[in-house]
Each structure stands twice: as C-alpha cells, then as structure tokens.
Amino acid sequence: MTRIIVTTSGKGGVGKTTTTANLGMALARLGRKVALVDADFGLRNLDLLLGLENRIVYTALEVLAGECRLEQALVKDKREPGLVLLPAAQNRNKEAVSPDQIQELVSALTDLYDYIVIDCPAGIEMGFKNAIAGAKEALIVTTPEIAAVRDADRVVGLLEAQGIKNIHLIVNRLRPTMVQVNDMMSVQDVQEILAIPLIGVVPEDERVIVSTNRGEPLVLAESPSLAGKAFDNIARRLEGQTVEFIDLYPTPDNFLSRLRKLLSSII
C-alpha cells in the first residue's frame, strides 16, 4: 500500500519544504522507496534543498504534455537510491496544472513507491488544491506563532472538508528556552487549538540554514543535530514505530537530579 502524504501549512516559511526533504531522505534511509512530488509550480525549491537542481531535465509539466515519460522526469538521488524527485516547472505558475492532472501523476507513481510525499505551496488557492488532490494523508507543519497556527487551523478545516481525515501535526522551529519563560507558545498551546495528533516537534536549529544552502538534508549529517534527529524520529513514527519524543527541556545535571535518576532506576 502506497502512502500518499501532503505536507502543508497554509502560511509560508514555516518549513514545509525542509520537512518534505528531510522526511523523504529519512524514509529512504529506512529502506523505503520514496517519491517526492514538488507541487509548488513557479516557485520550486525542493530540488535545491535536496541538492538535485542541476540534474533536472524534464518536469511534471512535460510529463503531462506527453513530451517525456514519467520515468524520464524522475530525478534519482545519488546518495539514497530509494529516493526520487518529481520536479515542478519553474517557468509557469500554479494555474498551469489542474487537480485532475496532479491526481493523474500521483496515481501513475502509486504502487511503484512506498511513500509519495507532496510538497504543497503556501496559501489555499489553486496550488493548494492541486497539491491535496491526490493525497490520502496530511502532515501539518506549523511554527509556534499565532499567525502560523491560525493558518494551519484553516488548512485543517479545508482538508477535513476534502475528506482527508488522517492528519498529523509537526511543530517546527520551537525554542524551548523561550517557551520556558512564556515568550513562545508551547506545543500544548498549539495542540489545544488545532486538536490533531502530534507526530513531531523540531527545535530551532541554525544548521537547517547550512543544510539548505548546501543541498544536504539534515538527516544525512555525520554528527546528528537535534533537528535532524527530530526529523528522523518523525519518519520512524510514520513507519509505525513508537519513538519517544526528544526531551527538549533537559533538567540541569546536578546532584539531586542524578540522585533522582538513580533512585528511579532502582525502583
């Protein structure tokens, strides 16, 4: 059974594409066959984050026009053989394709891959409608900000109306120290409003910027970062594994806490 998942958020800049790239790579590293579909026609970025920009020959648009076969447009990742990218066209806009056409592409990929992850553009217009057309599940990416959560809430409503009920939440760019002093919404605050199950919390991490610039997803890094670990955990949870959430609020390692740990391990 191919799982067809759309990564969406409503608001821009919250980390949809970063999430898609990292989850795709992490799932491929777990031995799955993964197709990433960039549905952001006209403003494609997914290829950059994956470092595959210079390998693109054909795009989804040429496939739809019948100018090439689907396999020709799929860009294979050199690092992970299980990962392919179906790039969007950069020289057109969102109106260049219709929901039916995206659905056609997705169903052509179905059964060839274990996961199809669709990267949705920001907004709730045509590009959004295209991206969700073929999806069976959704990952909502939000940052702990009122505006992002409000937009995520709107998107959840639209997804539900489209019959996509399997929706999970990723809270991205969380700053634990700011949450602790009440300067940032906590994961609980976000969940209270959105009322959908949580699948991952990704802390703010400067290395995301570095990895984006280099085109190397975080999960590939030699020395694992906290954010990379968080993405890897989300991939494992998608696979059905039970993975503990990373403790982002480590208690200071003093005598008392060590004693408590020791005692609880004895009991």
């Binding site: 409000r150 937009d151 809430d153 959840v156």
Partner: protein
C-alpha cells in the same frame, strides 16, 4: 448583579450585516414526518454562500458534524429549489451522502435543467415553482430547529443557522457562528459568536470556556477583556441595559430570577 464586566465602551452599534441569516442561507438537513431533507440555499442567497464550492464545503461540514446520528440507509430528499445543478454535482452530493450511508432518492427543484440532470441520473424528480417574492417575507419567521454539530469550528469556517446552534467542540479564533437563536459552545469559545442575528436581543451565548474574539447579540457588539483569565468557569453572555455582560453559568438562572421585580 455579579457579572464579569466586558468593557462598556465597546458596546457600539457597528453596522452588522442585518437579517443576512434567512432560513435558507446555508446547506441544512431537516427531518419532517419521517423523511430527511437536504435543503440547499437558494441562488438568491447572499453571494458569500452561493458558489458550488461553498455549498460543497457546507455539506461536508454538516455531514461530518452530525456523524454519529446518521442512520444507515436513510433516504434523503434533496431540496434544490432554484439552484442549478449538473449531473456531476448531483453525483458529488450523492457520493458525499453515501459516505455516511445516506441514500439520495428524490430531487425537488424549480429549475428545468436540474430536473433533467436528476432524471437522467435516475432520481425521482419533483418540479416545484417558486412563488415570486416569496423570499421577501417579513422578519417574523419562526426559528428553525436547533443545529447540533460535533466538530471544531476552525479558522475560516462560518456556521450560519436560522435557529439555535449547539457545538460540541471548540470555536477557534477565525471561526464564526451566526445563529438566529442561542449559541451553546460545549468547549472553548475563542472565535466570533453572533446570537439573535435577526434582532432578538434576548438570545444568549453560552460556553464552557469563554475567551471570545468578539461576541455579538442582536445589534450589540462586545469584545472580551484584554486581561488574561485566571479562572475558568462555564459562562453565559447576555444583553443588559448596559450592553453585553457575562455571568458565571451556575449563577445565571438565579441572578435572572432575583433581578425580576
């Protein structure tokens, strides 16, 4: 009266979209004498509710919101009035109903094309004729039966109903409920609630957790105090001579009783 005060300066006669909630302004279900009717708003309804995609979303919301109550294999009469529906749209409605095991059986319409499409699709068709100016009835329309929904009213969702609305779930910021009767939110009220929308200032807004963006009752408008709530009780908003006030629900009926002369 021991009420939590809402800032009195906010009680201002903002121009509200008056009488917008006519009985047919959103998709609704109604059961009458054992038959379940799905009533679509007339084409003449406000433009915000008239496009097919809006109708479609409202239908899905109503179906999801009443999920537990649909009896399998109940037949549905579609009251399309003057709305133009093509074969594909009828099929979409039938499919959505089939998802909750409801069966579309009959279509009632005043449009010839809709009647033809419905007949082609194999539904029994009832042609009606719209009496001219029927929609321009006076405001003294009796309330519709309460609308009970189990859902989160999320940002961007607008629930309109010409009776009382009961929501089992939260009303989120950016969401709005407009009712001609009372509004009861069995959950957190954080969005906008407008009770008594056709002018009845005796209507009430009730919530387990009252943190509204804005409350409206009839022509009165109020926003919540900007101070953070420290304790949370179920509360009731009502209109007093000073404007909209909020009372603790447990004391509300008593205070109403005691304030009577």
């Amino acid at each position: 009266m021991n009420s939590d005060f809402i800032l009195p300066d906010t009680v201002s006669p903002i121009a509200l979209p008056a009488n917008e909630v006519n009985s047919n302004s959103q998709v609704r279900f109604k059961s009458e004498e054992g038959r379940l009717m799905l009533i679509l708003p007339a084409e003449a309804a406000p433009p915000s509710t008239s496009s097919w995609s809006d109708i479609w979303q409202q239908l899905k919301q109503r179906l999801n919101g009443g999920d537990r109550f649909w009896q399998p294999n109940t037949t549905v009469d579609l009251i399309a009035s003057d709305r133009l529906l093509d074969g594909r749209q009828l099929q979409a409605i039938a499919d959505a109903l089939a998802e909750v095991q409801l069966l579309l059986k009959r279509v009632s319409t005043s449009r010839r094309q809709t009647a033809v499409a419905a007949a082609t699709a194999g539904y029994s068709v009832e042609q009606t004729y719209v009496a001219p100016n029927q929609t321009l009835t006076s405001s003294s329309v009796p309330l519709a039966e309460p609308l009970y929904l189990q859902m989160t009213v999320r940002s961007g969702i607008e629930i309109r109903h010409s009776g009382t609305v009961i929501v089992l779930g939260d009303l989120n910021p950016g969401g709005i409920v407009v009712a001609n009767g009372d509004i009861l939110i069995w959950g957190r009220l954080r969005g906008v609630a407008h009770a008594g929308a056709d002018g009845n200032s005796k209507c009430l807004i009730m919530a387990l957790h009252m943190e509204p963006t804005q409350l409206r009752i009839a022509d009165y408008v109020a926003r919540a105090p900007t101070t953070q709530l420290t304790q949370v009780y179920p509360e009731i908003a009502h209109v007093t001579p000073e404007g909209i006030r909020i009372s603790i629900a447990a004391d509300f009926s008593k205070s109403q009783f005691l304030s009577q002369p």
